[in-house]
Symmetry: C2
Subunit: 269 residues, 2 copies
Amino acid sequence: MQQAIAILDSGVGGLTVVKEVMRQLPQEKIIYFGDTARTPYGPRTPAEVSLFTRQIVDYLMQFHPKMIVIACNTATAVALEQIRSSVPVPVVGVIHPGARAAIKTTRRGLVGVIGTEGTVRSGAYENALKELSPFIEVISLACPRFVPLVEQGRFRTAETRQVIRQTLAPLTGYPMDCLILGCTHYPFISEAIAEAMGPSVTLISSADETAREISTVLYHSGQLAKASQLPVHQFFCSGDPVMFQKIAQEWLGEQIRVTPVVWQVPQIL
Amino acid sequence: MQQAIAILDSGVGGLTVVKEVMRQLPQEKIIYFGDTARTPYGPRTPAEVSLFTRQIVDYLMQFHPKMIVIACNTATAVALEQIRSSVPVPVVGVIHPGARAAIKTTRRGLVGVIGTEGTVRSGAYENALKELSPFIEVISLACPRFVPLVEQGRFRTAETRQVIRQTLAPLTGYPMDCLILGCTHYPFISEAIAEAMGPSVTLISSADETAREISTVLYHSGQLAKASQLPVHQFFCSGDPVMFQKIAQEWLGEQIRVTPVVWQVPQIL
């Protein structure tokens, strides 16, 4: 049986990675887990995000995936290294791919980053960017109101546009030439973000770039799928499967089957 | 001492990879070998290109590099797998990075590839593209007149523009949305190529994309440089060092020192 790529997120955000993996690597089988019962992760403590990520990885490892993709910036920021040292397969996060793409794109050396409070507070993008290129300047902004809008499926409402314009206003005075969408939920609302930032700013989707990084890592470890038929993907979510399925089908442009997973309260012995 | 990235090419073409590595990974030390005495590789037999590549890799291995980059599409097409299995460090070629970028970029699924006769004859891009995404359509064209123009430093002459326009004419009837510059020499003449192809075609530089793949592979193997000072690069070429230095300094925008290396005829015992 074909080994899958396991992709996880706090909710529907990681579907932006799924869509790009489906497009860039159509032969790869995907198993997705969206922790919609506990979204958003952004305002949570690092310890809590680590625990939740660990639980999802444990759940996904039962399917013997060939790779784990932490398709959530908040979880990547706090749990990537820990997960990497604890599973026997490659683990890809979403922060370094976006950082690499920004470094390739920027000509002025000034990069903007937007993300959840947790991601921005961690300084993970700044660290990744400066690790690669110490002279890069970084301006970061937390956008706590964005993820709930996406999880509610409100991608293009007037209110969404207004929230985005107001939130991003502090960034528009800087001469940055690229802005990292440092949250996998943001590609859902990238049109309004592009509108607010203006045409001189290139948006970098950490989701798109992560799909490419997955391709690179699978190639260099000799693990690209050689499927003769198109794979059937599997989707799990911990919250309401109806809303998840609706958003997923709209975003992916195809019918999917969703299996609900309910987190259990441990039995008192 | 800091371990270097060793980069090789048939001549000055690999300097397009060098420039991007210097920009994207300014802390990395580079050792470059341009085989200007035996350029171009494009019209040579696979056996000859393999032998030449092997000789350069043997020369470079004495510096104990942490990675070998075959920054020549012709050499990547015929010698990558052989070199990969014979040295104890990661080996990065220039074909898969360009293929991956094209797959990320194309929306129509029709990708153009231009390269040397050797690269086009090998079918290496078509194989790499279809290995990742079987539904991609590929149109390839050999452009044997381009490399000599670049090695002579004639990047922007009227004759160069005319040769490029004439050579690329067969491609302009196809509805492709991206064109892979499947030769590391071509970024030197990318302006004229862009002009000939028109604004609807995105050019993919295998050189730029390779710098990013180097970044990804070094990161995932924990080998990114943590230099406190900027590295001093080393350049070797097998032909006239004056012409090499002139082209290199113009392209890289900085002074470099070039060490000539003369291939020896073996002694008769």
